[in-house]
């Protein structure tokens, strides 16, 4: 098991019942850098007044480190074939579902449509199927995307280091890969068959990507699949581990909450708005320079409130169906998960500007990777 997971397990056990006093919370917030003990103590806070104090400091740290800038991106689902039997996922191979994969022309059409809406940073997504969505297919899709967008990332099944290097060589900047849950036993139950069953191969994938030349990695759990507080603790320590190992790269963290995806799966845990906000804020307090990403899984009013406090990057105008940008599709029945915030890119941009922030559409210099 990765050392940060063991560390998280020990911290969690030791401080399971520990609720810090108000004075203790204030003392922790007065520190420049929090210890791991401080981190787990803050995760146990439930008092509204203390959480509000944490919000205040998180906001200050965000502005100091990231200024008044919010980055915007959108996902592009290019294929939904999948060999995995994840019990909670809308793309699961057990699900009766129209499988499709975009042609290269289709990918280009989608990207051009996204570009028309103003998007300049795209994440290319596939299900996990090495035959229908081969590395060669993903590579070609990325090549097309690099020619259209300023910034291209991937959210595909875990790859080997040399495969990541191929994608890095065509100009892919970043990887997003959610561990789903960091609790191995639960992970194995939730992924009963398929290549995704391999917990460690997935856990170590962001590291392989960064080793092979990627500039950034976004990681996190899917909240609700297992014990949320434990998963958040593990994800924060995972981000810290990656930062220490690859200090020149940019690490982001995201805590998507489980949303219904047309399966019968009912999560054992639900995460309230209050807990969710607390988790994001604690990530900021413990890792002041880590990016915090918020997807359209969350509703518009919560997203608008959070961009004022700790979030640095949000998706906008997202379609989670294959080919959903160029043609109208039923987002409710064909998507991997339900989109809560369905506002257009323009509407999201307006909100950002009204809040006195500046929308940005790229974070890297195009072409600099190919040297």
């Amino acid at each position: 098991m990765a050392s940060f997971l063991e560390e998280a397990e020990e911290l969690f056990k030791e401080y399971k019942e520990y609720i810090p006093t108000h004075k203790e919370v204030c003392d922790i917030l007065d520190k420049e850098f929090l210890s791991k003990e401080d981190l787990i103590k803050l995760l146990n806070v439930s008092n509204k007044e203390d959480i509000l104090l944490m919000v205040k400091k998180a906001q200050k740290l965000t502005r100091e480190n990231f200024g008044k800038v919010i980055l915007l991106y959108a996902p592009l689902y290019i294929a939904n074939y999948c060999q995995n039997g994840c019990v909670y996922c809308g793309f699961s191979c057990k699900k009766e579902y129209r499988r499709e994969k975009l042609s290269f022309e289709g990918i280009e059409n989608e990207l051009r449509k996204m570009k028309e809406e103003g998007i300049d940073s795209v994440i290319i997504l596939t299900g996990e199927d090495r035959i229908n969505s081969s590395v060669e297919y993903i590579e070609k899709a990325c090549e097309i995307a690099v020619n259209i967008m300023s910034e291209v990332s991937i959210e595909v099944y875990p790859l080997y280091e040399e495969e990541y290097r191929r994608l890095s060589n065509v100009g892919v900047i970043g990887i997003t890969l959610y561990q789903e849950t960091y609790q191995k036993e639960d992970y194995e139950k939730l992924h009963p068959f398929g290549p995704k069953k391999d917990f460690e191969f997935r856990l170590n994938a962001p590291e392989r990507a960064l080793k092979s030349g990627f500039h950034e990695a976004c990681i996190g759990p899917l909240l609700g699949l297992s014990h949320p507080k434990k998963d958040v603790l593990c994800a924060i320590l995972h981000a810290e581990y990656l930062l220490e190992k690859f200090p020149k790269t940019e690490i982001s963290i995201s805590f998507p909450r489980f949303r219904s995806a047309g399966t019968d799966f009912m999560p054992l845990y639900t995460v309230s708005d209050k807990e969710f906000i607390k988790f994001l804020i604690i990530a900021r307090l413990y890792l002041p320079r880590v990016g915090i990403v918020l997807s359209t899984r969350e509703n518009s009013s919560l997203r608008d409130a959070l961009i004022d406090v700790c979030v640095t990057k949000i998706s906008a105008g997202s379609k989670t169906t294959v080919g959903g940008y160029a043609e109208e599709k039923d987002e409710d029945s064909e998507a991997q998960f339900e989109v809560e915030d369905r506002r257009s890119v323009s509407e999201v941009v307006d909100v950002i500007i009204k809040k006195g922030l500046r929308p940005e559409f790229t974070n890297w210099v195009k072409g600099v990777k190919n040297i």
Partner: protein, 254 residues
């Protein structure tokens, strides 16, 4: 007026644009705070989109663009970013910023030195962002950079001139201009940098993230000017004991 990078400038306040809430502030700062040099990260020079205009469209023609290589992980990337930046902006002023890590954003001295060597040969006016390290500053001076930009405190911290004892030797020994960059959080910090003899300061976070960036830029401009005048007049020495005359003075003088 002072000369830097082959230009004569009135203002010793340089401003970074990366964290600004709105690029239209750039023009206002030029006219109302007299700022003449704007640092622009090449990673922020995006094309015009449906929602945003290219930052370069907001910079007045007579202002100087200092392209910034932030985001570069090594000297090769910094050189390439500088080249792209020169193409995009038509400015050959480049702030070489290569960070060692994204946690503290400390500059990578070895890679910075390598990038500066190449960029000077390529005809750039080179402004490296560095640790307050006299030896490194001397090497960079030898290479032919236009100025050195040592940090006052870690970037974005607003902690002021935390590295005073390391900055003074650089100001004393280096013949090229010294621009204090990073960590300056208040106009009084900027005034102090100027009183110490710095040639200019570069501010980003303290202006961009204030509740009124334009007014804050004006405040910084005034502080920089005040600090510089004080330096030129000569800052008085601090005395341990008061200089008041003593009733014993007549007896002691005989």
């Amino acid at each position: 007026m002072f000369e830097i990078g082959g230009k004569l400038l009135k203002s010793r306040l340089f401003v970074g644009t990366g964290k600004l809430p709105d690029y239209s502030l750039i023009e206002k700062m030029y006219y109302e705070a007299g700022v003449e040099v704007f640092a622009v990260a090449v990673r922020r020079i995006g094309p015009n989109t449906k929602h945003t205009r290219n930052v370069l469209e907001y910079i007045p023609n007579d202002a100087i663009i200092m392209v910034n290589t932030s985001g570069a992980q090594d000297h090769k990337e910094a050189v390439k970013i500088a080249m792209i930046g020169r193409e995009l902006t038509n400015s050959n002023w480049v702030k070489v910023e290569i960070e060692k890590d994204t946690k503290y954003l400390f500059p990578d001295s070895i890679e910075t030195l390598k990038a500066c060597e190449i960029l000077v040969k390529e005809g750039f006016k080179v402004f490296p962002y560095i640790y307050p390290d006299l030896n490194l500053a001397k090497e960079l001076e030898q290479i032919g950079v236009e100025a050195v930009m040592p940090l006052g405190s870690p970037i974005g911290t607003n902690k002021g001139i935390g590295c005073e004892v390391l900055l003074k030797p650089i100001i004393n020994e280096i013949k090229i201009p010294v621009i204090i960059d990073a960590g300056i959080g208040r106009p009084s910090h900027a005034a102090k940098a100027m009183e110490m003899g710095a040639d200019a300061v570069l501010i980003n976070t303290a202006i961009a993230t204030s509740s009124d960036p334009l007014k804050m830029a004006v405040a910084f401009a005034k502080a920089v000017e005040a600090g510089r005048v004080a330096f030129e007049v000569g800052i008085l020495k601090e005395y341990e004991y008061a200089q008041a005359s003593s009733p014993l003075e007549d007896f002691i003088s005989g």
